[in-house]
Amino acid sequence: MSALWPRGVETVDLRIRSDPAHLADMREAVRQMAERCGFAADETDAVALAVDEALTNTIKHGYGGSPEGDIDIHLERLAGELGGGLEVRIRDYGHQVDPEGICSRDLSDIRPGGLGVHIMRCVMDELRYERCQGGGMLVTMRKYLTRHGESPVG
């Protein structure tokens, strides 16, 4: 796939529908932005996975599986902080939940479902959920590079 973002792009704002058919394109967009931020290939894959999990949760829980909702995605290259990195913000206009109730589950309980938050917390250095005025949720995730261009999370 050819490069999506011109050189020097520091922020990207996208709006997609809550249709799972868009997930593959979003993963590629995030991979390319993460690569521009200086992450190695395995880290760009991991960041794409974390964003995919966040979008999946938005589609399933924010919009109850409906493909008709709007999802705003903001990708931003971080400069200076811990050697740089990437911030991802995902805003939906669907169902709200208490951020305190969003947590990883016990992985020793082998069953389908409930793994997305755990994956996001494993991959990203920061993860925050907020309720938005007027409805919906905002998820903010950050992953940092070290001073020498290597991610602190192996």
């Binding site: 799972p20 999946t56 994956i119």
Partner: protein, 116 residues
């Protein structure tokens, strides 16, 4: 055997077991079809159900959840589930979710079919 969903490359039924070869990205967009296809195979109660992942480029927790559910279905009739050749990306997901110690993973379908 003809594939009957976009993510199912082939289904090969043999005396020792059934091998389902998946292809592409197994995410929320595709995992439902994969789930249904694998459950259809489970209804045949193969002694061994082998899910070949060598052509799976990407998987997320919805794909993993499908595999866990299929494991439960196969286990319910005392069959055995095995996975074959997950990519490094998929193996990493299994490690993050601690399922690398749960699934039986082999390098080839032949190894999986020949195992106890």
């Amino acid at each position: 055997m003809a594939a009957h969903a976009d993510s199912i490359k082939s289904i090969e039924r043999g005396e020792t077991g059934t091998v389902v070869r998946l292809v592409g990205d197994i995410d929320l967009h595709r995992s439902h079809d994969v789930h249904q296809s694998l459950l259809d195979v489970c209804r045949e109660r193969p002694n061994k159900l082998i899910v070949d992942l060598r052509d799976v480029a990407y998987m997320d927790s919805s794909g993993v959840g499908t595999l866990v559910e299929v494991f439960r279905q196969v286990n319910a009739y005392k069959g055995k589930l095995a996975l074959v050749a997950p990519s490094a990306r998929v193996k990493n997901l299994f490690q993050i979710t601690k399922l690398d110690q749960f699934f039986r993973i082999f390098a080839t379908p032949e190894e999986a079919l020949g195992a106890d």
